[in-house]
């Protein structure tokens, strides 16, 4: 087995950082679905364009958070061993 040197720990940290960014798939699917529903609602009633736009931007900014958690974990793993 490998001895637990600093190189081994750093290599494992880089692997873990790569796996942690895979949580970006969740917000990608969810926000794309929400944007599709927003465009469909716009086609149904074009007068409410500005309030649909505001609501969609707000909802996507809130749904982005869980994807950001994976990014923060990856950054901590890369820069702090």
């Amino acid at each position: 087995m490998a001895e637990f040197t600093i190189f081994f720990a750093q290599g494992m940290a880089y692997l873990g950082a790569g796996i942690a960014v895979l949580t970006g798939i969740g917000p990608g699917i969810g926000q794309g679905y929400a944007a599709g529903k927003a465009v469909e609602a716009l086609g149904r009633q074009p007068e409410a364009a500005s309030s649909i736009r505001t609501l969609m931007i707000t909802g996507q900014a809130v749904a982005e958070t869980t994807g950001l958690y994976g990014l923060i974990v990856a950054i901590i793993l890369i820069f702090a061993t």
Binding site: I57, T58, A61, V62, E64, T65, L68, Y69, L71, I72, I75
Partner: protein
């Protein structure tokens, strides 16, 4: 004295400069507004300030039914500081919110002010009864919810601003002179102006919603 200034990290220095700039300019604009009488027509920067405050008051009246006059100045201060802080890397400063300490203190500000304001407006007995709202067994779930949502608010700002700063460092480091043109056209408008202003707006709206949920019956 110079040692204290050098020892700060670049995010703290930018935050102090932004605070000083906002204090001076808002005081000067307020003095100009106060000197006008009712029949004068405002012009120039006074007109911009009056229109901004009126637009923000109309937005806040939809959320707070009873207490909007007390809390609108607090919300306007937060959105003014966050708006200037997220776009500060356009003038050469570092963004204050890419520093972990400042971002965590924003989430501590949201948590602390909601608890203190709810304890002042409702008496502690009524506040405890509000926390056990559907059934007394819901008390741990409500407590965890009160703590985790302000934490997520601060962390959202931190993640957005830090990723913009890291991508900027990579682009400027790899492409020497072409990187400056590429950064000016693509990186700064997307990561600083677009994402920064949207996240400032989302923080203010979430703060307003949680504060009005904790205060109004």
């Amino acid at each position: 004295m110079v040692d204290v200034w050098i020892a700060f990290s670049s995010g703290m220095k930018a935050s102090l400069l932004i605070t000083a700039f906002l204090m001076i300019s808002v005081t000067l604009i307020g003095l100009k507004v106060k000197k006008m009488s009712y029949a004068d027509v405002p012009g120039g920067i006074v007109l911009v300030a009056v229109m901004l405050v009126q637009m923000f008051n109309n937005m806040m009246e939809d959320f707070f039914k009873k207490y909007w006059r007390q809390f609108t100045p607090y919300m306007f201060t937060i959105i003014l500081f966050l708006g200037f802080a997220n776009t500060a890397s356009l003038v050469g400063l570092a963004t204050p919110l890419s520093n972990f300490t400042i971002a965590i203190s924003f989430s501590a500000l949201a948590f602390g002010s909601i608890q203190v304001i709810a304890l002042i407006v409702h008496k502690p007995v009524k506040r405890a009864k509000n926390l056990m709202e559907p059934h007394p067994l819901f008390l741990p779930i409500n407590l965890i919810g009160e703590m985790s949502t302000p934490f997520a608010m601060g962390l959202r700002l931190f993640g957005n601003m830090l990723s913009g700063a890291i991508i900027g460092i990579i682009i400027y480091g790899l492409l020497s002179w072409f990187g400056v043109v590429f950064g000016a056209i693509l990186i700064h408008p997307i990561f600083d102006i677009f994402f920064g202003l949207i996240q400032a707006y989302v923080y203010t709206i979430l703060f307003t919603i949680f504060l009005s949920m904790a205060i109004e019956e």
